[in-house]
């Protein structure tokens, strides 16, 4: 493999993490992002499950992309995805019942996570298996990071702990709101605000440099 193509592959991988982060940049997959991030544990479980489904289905879609007729491709993708979601559903139930209970129907809802179908349609159906998996892993990691960002803030402020370990000592007054739905909206909104502020600042810097 030549230097440039491996570079490009790296780019594919990094895209999902930063430049095209599915949550913060593309604003996709909002429902699980908001619903299961009131603790870091749930966030990680959700992130990993989604990543698993994303990678597996991207791989399979890329494999069968030349076989499937155009008219039924979406239906096929959905079937592929829901199969993997069923697998994950049973896997989690086998591994940890508390996590399964906490995530509830949101595991099943991975099926309709727009990130997965979106990547299948936009990337995996047009690229090689290798690149599709790279892309899926990148997106998956990006999604996990976003969930962690949210889950971290919400658990830290909402219960004063991280992964269940108290951080701020026994006298800390938790901000219960961050465990509530409204807190989820606020946290995600605040993250998006931070990102757009950063972007704005970068743009202003660039403009200044250009004029200077």
């Amino acid at each position: 493999m030549s230097e440039s193509s491996s570079n490009r592959n790296l780019q594919v991988f990094l895209n999902g993490i930063w430049k095209e982060n599915p949550v913060f940049v593309q604003v996709l997959g909002m429902c699980p992002t908001l619903a299961v991030t009131n603790s870091v544990r749930n966030a990680i479980a959700m992130g990993i499950s989604t990543m698993f489904v994303l990678v597996m289905s991207s791989m399979l879609v890329a494999m069968v992309r030349k076989v499937v007729p155009k008219q039924v491709r979406i239906a096929t993708y959905i079937l592929i995805i829901s199969t993997f979601v069923t697998i994950v559903d049973y896997l989690i139930k086998a591994v940890s019942i508390p996590v399964y209970k906490a995530l509830g129907p949101f595991i099943a809802l991975i099926v309709v996570n727009c990130i997965i179908l979106g990547r299948a349609e936009a990337f995996a159906s047009k690229n090689t298996v290798y690149r599709s998996v790279l892309d899926a892993v990148g997106m998956g990691v990006g999604f996990c990071i976003a969930l962690l960002c949210l889950g971290g803030v919400r658990e830290l402020l909402g219960s004063g702990s991280f992964l269940g370990v108290p951080i701020f000592g026994p006298y800390f007054e938790p901000w219960v709101i961050f465990l509530l739905p409204s807190g989820g909206f606020f946290t995600l909104g605040a993250w998006l605000l931070v990102f757009s502020l950063l972007k704005e600042r970068k743009a202003r810097r660039a403009a200044q440099e250009q004029s200077a």
Binding site: V27, L28, M30, C31, P32, L34, A35, A75, I78, L79, S82, T83, V85, T86, D89, Y90, G104, P105, A108, L109, V111, V112, N113, C114, L117, I177, L180, P181, S182, G183, G184, F185, F186, L188, G189, A190, L192, L193, S196, L197, E200
Partner: protein, 194 residues
């Protein structure tokens, strides 16, 4: 069998555990289609309709799966049911009422990826609702989705004329408004329980 009263299920799904503002289902269309009041109402109508039909079908499907002892097929079968419901509904409306079809337009196919529809089907299964309960639940959920969507679109239309700071424009602000709405809906907690 769940024994919650129909009235409670309705209030709960409409206001207290509002699909969008408390359960986080259907956030994508909530953020995407809430720019204009007109479209919001149409989208809401389409969702209510599809939700009722698909949740009835999902109920039947679940009964069948339980009898066949094939519950592992639940996710796959539900998504197939929903996708085909949307297709059928679209065809049906197109044929029977072109006016309604024009009104709902592109929103019908969008509903396939609306996690609220699948979510409602999953919830009614997990909570073990009877058929009537399921119907009331899906009606309340659909109306709750519409309510949130319509309120949101009203506010966003107004915000279009405001001097919102650049950084906050778009999704960030919409999420903040949703958060405030979600706080306001918390006032309904406990309603209908006594």
């Amino acid at each position: 069998m769940n024994s919650a009263s129909l009235w409670f299920i309705f209030i709960d799904s409409l206001l207290i555990n509002n699909l969008v503002l408390a359960v986080f289902l259907g956030i994508c269309p909530f953020l995407g289609v809430s720019g204009k009041l007109d479209t919001a109402i149409r989208m809401g109508g389409a969702v209510v309709f599809v939700m009722l039909v698909s949740s009835a079908l999902a109920y039947g499907m679940n009964v069948l799966l339980v009898r066949l002892d094939a519950e592992y097929l639940r996710i796959i079968s539900y998504i197939v049911v929903i996708a085909s419901t949307v297709q059928l509904v679209e065809m049906f409306i197109k044929k029977k009422s072109p006016a309604l079809f024009r009104a709902l337009g592109i929103y019908l196919p969008l509903i396939t990826t609306n996690c609220a529809v699948l979510g409602v089907a999953m919830f009614q299964t997990i909570r073990d609702y009877s058929f009537v309960q399921s119907m009331v639940f899906s009606l309340g959920s659909g109306l709750g989705f519409t309510l949130a969507l319509v309120i949101m679109s009203g506010i966003r239309e107004q915000l279009n004329l405001s001097d919102v700071p650049n950084a906050a424009k778009g999704t960030a602000l919409a999420l903040m408004v949703a958060g405030i709405l979600s706080m306001a809906f918390m006032g309904f907690a406990g309603l209908g329980s006594n």
